[in-house]
Amino acid sequence: MRGAIGAVMGSVYYVLYVVALPVMFQSVAGLPVELRPPVDPSTALALFMALGVAESVAPAAVGAAFGLLLKVVGALYIYCATNGGAVSAAIAGYCITIDLSLLVYAIAIGSIIVGVVDAFTQAPREALKT
């Protein structure tokens, strides 16, 4: 049961980092920006689901580490897909380059901080249960 919940959580993170955030980048830029995903979607889904399952079935401290790793992988995916925030698009005979690095860093740092806080608050609570 915990494994299934972990797989669902991994899928949720996959939707957030691989689907929703790249779509948000294209929307805020208002341009058909070219993203360069570091891995194909099925590999990314498998990776996120595996980390989600590992987070939920592993013992407290190890599970918390997997939870943090899940967020770090998501942040890295966004960083690589957007080329560190320098996205470009060709439109009506013009090449437009937009530096979105501030947004990318905000997402990456925010994800990692949330992961660290989650790990430090979750691990002791899980340890008390067992």
Binding site: M24, S27, V28, A29, G30, L31, A90, G93, Y94, C95, I96, T97, I98, D99, L100, L102, L103, A106, I107, G110, S111, I113, V114, V117, D118, T121, Q122
Partner: protein, 124 residues
């Protein structure tokens, strides 16, 4: 509420706030593609030089800062562009240099509200 949930929400709000100027600029550009107008006029100075007068006009609400016009390897600072402002810069060019100028040698650089750097370059 868990501390990580509060942090995740705060991060979400920060990201939305950070992307707001870019979103407004994108919406305004979609509604009016002539948001940032560029008019170029070439006038002879003497037998060896011509003056490239470039007028930039802007009607958007989000200020554009550090606007620079790059012609070849020469960069000319235009300054900041606010709503309803038009600025003209004159770039003196050697006749040969002007004749060999390709569209891709000219680019416009600016920052949306001082945050997001943008470069527009002709593909040709």
């Amino acid at each position: 509420m868990r501390p990580s949930t509060v942090l995740a929400l705060a991060t979400g709000f920060a990201i939305v706030a950070l992307s707001f100027p870019l979103l407004v600029f994108a919406v305004e550009y979609a509604r009016n593609p002539a948001l940032l107008g560029v008019r170029v006029n070439v006038a002879p100075i003497n037998q060896s030089h011509v003056a490239l007068d470039v007028t930039l006009s802007y009607v958007g609400t989000i200020p554009l800062t550090d606007v620079q016009l790059v012609v070849g390897n020469r960069s000319t600072t235009v300054g900041d562009l606010h709503e309803g402002v038009a600025k003209t810069v004159t770039i003196p060019l050697n006749v040969d240099e002007a004749r060999n100028l390709r569209p891709s040698d000219v680019s416009l650089r600016f920052k949306i509200m001082g945050i997001y750097g943008v470069e527009v370059r002709a593909a040709g």
